[in-house]
Subunit: 403 residues, 2 copies
């Protein structure tokens, strides 16, 4: 079931594909009603679309595997997440639009608080404001001196989060986190997991020691903890693989980051969900493929708030007419993974999938929901990495294989 | 759909998984009722469980492939049967609890009857009693002299079956059977299928010739036939792969053999199906994973007796409350392959699968049966080797993949 598109099948075309990702869409039923968040939400427009669409279920990584957002989106974009996995550091670097180069080693840092003996008292330094974050980053930039032959970049992310990028010959990201994931103990020393990592460890330690020294007299954010060292490598782009000029419209940095990784153009972040659709309409004539990301179903799922997650899904529904009015050739609605409110975290359950196109073969569904996708799914259950092939086919952009 | 669990995702936990295997569970409909053996059987407790469970279908090896019991169980245990195939000789050796070592060459032998000119008249020597079998094996042990540098072990199995194990430097199991699968002809000579096998063939032939000589004056069992030469190699264990302490409760030796192969502890064989559940309750606090095996659905399917197979399935149903009363976190009910009574043998049809857990997403099934599993299966149809990943996920024992 794991098909790679034979390269020469992809054709240019004038058709347009819209992929709508409701983050963490899939859920679990409320035991009192037997309905999931999606099945509970009022979604008349999605239901109408589902009645004419092909439905199915997709697995981000594989049976039983819970996916992070990075691999979940890579799979939706057609990149096998077991081959093209992506570390937190690179994801964060892309999210803040840092121009990563092949070989760069990136890691997420947290500002943290340590006591006089160096033991961590707050792994997030009281969640500083973004302004405070920028002030602290400026201090790091000013005081940390790059080791010989290495360039060092600090970039603000949000609240307690920042990104550290190291650029230099032979640096390796085979390094363990220095964040011990608990308080009352000191930060861990940088440690390599391979010979290359062991060689890089002292260089990275030197940078982190300087960062610590630079923050020593700060009242709260007086330390940093590293999580998710990762090396950047260039990905083949949407244009390379699919001959698609692609635009990402996403309000949250991380999703713009993954889109940038696969060569999509990035729309400046709209300040509302309606703004996402307005941007789509504005840029409609310029692109072949549009990735639209809606974050809140996942956030409310992680909160464990069933009603709020259903509402977050319902809030996307009124945007659908504005999208269908543009007459896309293919509309996909799905999630990057499930986030059931009852589970309060990402889960392994398949994501419901709706693919609307004039070439869809509907199988009797009355609306959009997990059970309808399982029971009336012409598409069956398949790996998310094969979704793009299906989208290209429905867009008339794949030639016949063989004579 | 063929995902290996990235190793570092497996976490320890306090949850418990019960895997109930009804051997040869899947069937074909009786043309007069349109219902399979499982759908015909009275199974009120399984039906109730199915209404709250996730259903699906699993393929032991692949689409259209009929599986033996060895590969069928290895797949259920998460070992790709195309990679970890296991020969009959090793399976038999494990079944009689012989302490196989890596490199051992094992084969099943049948006692057989040959006439004065050496032609086979009965491939099973009139199915001797187990006592008679033990007497004959003692004679072989006494009279067969090991070739230089080789250790030779004979072990009784049941009726006409015994196991021969050869241990020595450089021995290969790349050998064809000496059982010609017909009467009126002599046993075949030992023949290698590779250069290594050709080198081992004379050594094995020498042992078989001695065995023949040792039995020459027996009135009935005056020869042996070899079936299924196989080399033993150590398998990674359930603890290695899944961090699960596992117990097998199975009344038939072969199934204890496969379980032993993957490092499960083995419960002394209960003398009734109720005894299987009693043993489960007794050992409940000691293990994380329990493999329960029920043999009769397969036996009655092989007999071609539809009603008896349905009855054998119905007989397992009353055991379910005793299992659910223990509050397992995950209950799986499935088969290792299908054995439709109409087909009178193992078949390639997928096995119906029921997975009950508090995190299951039911999809409208009213009971447990092949059609409900196909039509109302949230889990879809997937390879049996991925079932363990799903079980671990539902047991909360798998971390998220990627950031």
């Amino acid at each position: 079931m794991s098909v790679v598109i034979p390269d020469d099948l992809v054709e240019k075309g004038k058709t347009r594909i819209v992929m709508i990702v409701m983050d963490g869409l899939g859920g679990l039923p409320d035991p009192s009603t037997g309905k999931t968040e999606l099945e509970t939400a009022e979604t008349p427009h999605l239901d109408a679309l589902a009645r004419t669409a092909a439905l199915g279920q997709i697995l981000p990584v594989g049976v039983g595997i819970t996916s992070g957002s990075g691999p979940g989106h890579l799979a939706l974009f057609g990149y096998d997440p077991l081959v093209w996995n992506i570390g937190r550091g690179v994801l964060s670097g892309l999210g803040v639009a840092f121009p990563l180069e092949t070989g760069d080693v990136a890691t997420r840092l947290n500002f943290a608080t340590v006591d006089a003996s160096g033991n961590i008292t707050d792994r997030r330094a009281g969640r500083p404001s973004d302004d405070e974050n920028r002030r602290l980053v400026a201090r790091l930039r000013e005081r940390v001196k790059p080791p010989a032959g290495v360039q060092v970049f600090f970039e603000s992310e949000k609240e307690h989060r920042l990104v550290l990028v190291l650029r230099g010959q032979g640096l390796s990201a085979d390094l363990l986190d220095t964040d011990p994931q608990q308080t009352g103990v000191p930060a861990l020393a940088v440690k390599g997991t391979t010979p290359a990592g062991e060689k890089s460890a002292p260089v990275v330690q030197q940078v982190l020691d300087q960062a610590r020294a630079a923050l020593r007299d700060e009242p709260v954010a007086n330390a940093v903890l590293a999580r998710g060292f990762a090396e950047y490598r260039a990905y083949p782009t949407f244009m390379d693989r699919y001959k698609l000029k692609a635009l990402a419209i996403a309000r949250y940095p991380m999703y713009r980051g993954v889109a940038r990784l696969v060569g999509m153009d990035i729309q400046p972040p709209p300040d509302s969900d309606q703004g996402v659709v307005d941007a789509l309409a504005q840029r409609w004539s310029e692109y072949d493929f549009f990735f639209l990301h809606f974050k809140y179903p996942d956030s409310r799922g992680e909160d464990g708030d069933f009603a709020a997650k259903a509402k977050a899904i319902a809030n996307v529904d009124p945007l659908i007419p504005g999208i269908t009015a543009l007459n896309p050739d293919v509309i996909i609605v799905t999630g990057d993974h499930s986030t059931p409110a009852r589970w309060k975290a990402h889960s392994w359950h398949p994501s419901p999938l709706l693919l609307a196109s004039k070439w869809a073969r509907p199988a009797g569904a009355q609306g959009f929901g997990e059970t309808e996708c399982a029971v009336h799914g012409e598409l069956g259950t398949f790996l998310a990495k094969d979704l793009m092939t299906l989208a290209l086919a429905h867009a008339g952009r794949l030639a016949k294989y063989g004579a």
